[in-house]
Symmetry: C2
Subunit: 452 residues, 2 copies
């Protein structure tokens, strides 16, 4: 029994309650590592599934289907009998009564772990969101896919050459890994994968523009890799526009500025891969506890991932701002969130056993990679830098290995091998309700009464 | 050149135009078999993909993901260079000017093939649709999946025992193959697949009710198989209620009547697998051409699938009402639609070559099957009747063989084998926008101004 564990407010018979808000990489791994402990763990998430976000761009561009990269948390945690998964949107924390408030009521905690991540940030221009979807959720990926493949469908349909050009112009804002991967994938769709699929348009005439404010793509990567990434992108027909700012986004396209020159680009598909900002829970914690946030709304945490002055509240993953034991800023990446989730779980298990605290958290950096098109990647690994096909194989290996569920591993592997061998593609469905015949008739013909 | 083909209105230089409305089994196979002919073929569909409808219930119940059973028509028809696929909703046919009107304009035809199928029919009670989704489209399957798995999530969340019971009650209306398959799959989820996934509820306490107006399930099947199907269903905990009418459907559940007894069943998930009715194009043809419809709104066609008095217009698939050359009513099944699509394509090719007309269409009936749970099925095949696991293997073989795309075959096969070996499950995601934290805060806390 862990009733003596720090922070327990229950009777000796009641187990220490850990509530984790957010079931992404950080929260899910914290829950998993608290499995088979004496803690009574509750994982709260808006959605009933965890998403393998690094592969979300492959869903948006039709290479994978959403079920390939998502899995219900309760399936992952099936054997962790002390962990309960609840699907509910949390909206407040009451630190006096030690409860998390959510849409269906409240859940009491003794220890709280907040892992709600980040969302897209439109540089304060929230009105751009309607025209330029980001890529953080399953719905985002399906929306992007609808935009991309819907644009090709419309282009094939229309006889208006100006409209056709606008439909065949794709603008990606932001050249971090997601932007680079999106641009590469769309370039490859247009230049290689879909070449024989249309009759009236030539998919190779599509324009893919990648817009980045910094002087180079992949600002966080090594110089040699940035050059290689740009070369790989340009080989797929992507126009890379660096040192270029986005001044406006609308239904018609974007206005960009490079130095003193402003240009309007007419495009029906604009995709957002630029800024992120902390989710609302950063502000909720700041408001309730007065903890400091950084400029991006992230919560500054102690070296053990707890909140200053609140050893019973931890913040992990993209929402946490932490300089680790080696003096390195912990980046907002899946491996960092996973490591923090494990770290906090271990910390709690040691507390329960009254062992000494762990050393401060430090991030084991195995490097980062970005894939460009079907079989090229750049990898900034600890031991070496790599580009090209070898990098792609490494990337594929690392990602398949990281997918939690065995069945998903097999499926993603089959998809990729198939894609590699045949250049076929997994899921290009434009879903969502299409225009109904009945509605169209009512609109165009005035709904003749004989139609039911 | 086929400019002499019957019905051509163009000059000698212009190829004979065939327009196919609807890209399901019938339309897609007609287009495929007209590939590499001299016809200029256009396939019009609301959606850019064809759906393998017989497996849709597996998407609704989380065994497959939607990308597994859908494929863009233009990918299937990639090599058919004379076929153009257009994604647009058609809403009218002008037989004087020989054009199909659609949301983006009109497309002229010399020969027209209408293959728009059927939709759900709520016995004239369209208001039931909001509470009891059917299963004809990709969106329907995702909506059903959201209802089914969302109900289990809500049940795990709530402390209200009455609500929990309502959430754990699943009503399926109609015990044809789709209803039987749905009920079996949900029964299996509750009794076997999800048993260890919840902490507060016992999934085995769920009730699955299958309601059928006829005295037995699978009314179109052989007596022996009906008995076997019922036995298989009951082994999965499904309560089979035959000779039972549905009198009302609402957000709270259903009211049913058996003989003189009326019962209210409180259930949060009601699924519709009962009647179908012809799509609107039946009525459009009737209105424009005065052709006769049957009671279900289906179009009565000539023995060669053309319209009476209009040899340039064909109706195939579920929308067509046809007694075939052997005096047998052609059923609304995928194999019949495929055979009709091929038949019409062959008819047109023979016309182009001025060969004699084909013999009247007849349906080659290879039998029908229904699968119940993970590894049981009943098969009413021409040569023999079969039930149990052998029937399941046959069913799996037939369905995997019928999936058009090679990559999909491999994926579905991997999914099934995996499922069979591990009882894991493919895609139980509850998608669609969940409640947002921001909205909840605004609602419950009155949107404190410090929140962005």
């Amino acid at each position: 029994m862990s009733s003596n564990a720090q922070g327990s407010s229950g009777s000796a018979a009641q187990r220490h309650r850990v509530v984790i808000v957010g079931g992404g990489f950080g929260g899910l791994h914290a829950a998993k590592h608290l499995g088979a402990s004496d803690y009574d763990v509750t994982l709260l998430d808006k959605r009933n599934f965890q998403l393998f976000q690094p592969l979300l761009y492959q869903v948006a561009t039709g290479a994978l289907t959403i079920g390939d990269i998502a899995i219900p948390q309760r399936v992952v945690l099936r054997k962790a009998r002390n962990v309960t998964c609840l699907t509910a949107t949390a909206y407040d924390i009451d630190t006096d009564h030690k409860v998390v408030r959510h849409e269906f009521g409240e859940t009491p905690y003794d220890t709280l772990v907040v892992a709600t991540g980040v969302k897209h940030h439109y540089f304060g221009k929230d009105e751009w969101r309607a025209f330029a979807p980001g890529l953080k959720t399953a719905e985002h990926a399906i929306e992007m896919r609808r935009k991309i493949f819907g644009a090709f469908e419309r282009a094939e349909m229309t006889d208006d050459l100006k409209l056709r050009d606008e439909l065949q112009t794709f603008v990606i804002v932001g050249a971090g890994p997601t932007g680079v991967e999106l641009a590469g994938a769309i370039g490859e769709l247009a230049q290689k994968v879909m070449v024989r699929d249309f009759r009236r348009i030539d998919s190779r005439e599509s324009r893919v523009l990648l817009i980045e404010g910094a002087p180079q793509v992949l600002p966080a990567f090594d110089e040699k890799l940035r050059v290689a990434a740009r070369r790989h992108l340009e080989a797929l027909g992507v126009q890379v526009m660096t040192s270029t700012m986005v001044e406006n986004v609308s239904a018609e396209g974007v206005r960009i500025r490079k130095g003193e020159t402003t240009t309007e680009i007419r495009a029906r598909t604009v995709l957002w891969a630029a800024g992120v900002r902390a989710s609302l829970f950063g502000q909720i914690l700041a408001e309730r506890l007065g903890v400091p946030l950084d400029r991006g709304g992230r919560v500054r945490v102690e070296p053990d991932c707890s909140l200053p002055g609140h050893p019973d509240i931890f913040v992990i993953g993209d929402l946490a701002r932490l300089t680790d034991a080696r003096g390195r800023e912990v980046p907002g990446l899946a491996p960092a969130a996973i490591q923090q989730g494990r770290y906090v779980a271990t910390t709690l298990k040691r507390r329960a056993k009254r062992k000494t605290a762990l050393k401060p958290f430090y991030y084991r950096d195995w490097g980062s990679m970005a894939v460009i098109g079907m079989n090229r990647a750049v990898g900034d690994l600890r031991a070496f830098k790599t580009t090209g096909t070898l990098a792609w194989f490494l990337w594929a290996f690392v990602h398949i290995r990281a997918l939690i569920d065995g069945s998903q591993r097999v499926r993603v592997f089959v998809q990729w091998v198939w894609k590699y061998l045949t250049r076929h593609i997994g899921d290009r469905l434009v879903t969502g309700a299409p225009t109904s015949t009945k509605t169209l008739r009512a609109e165009r013909l005035g709904d003749p009464p004989s139609m039911p």
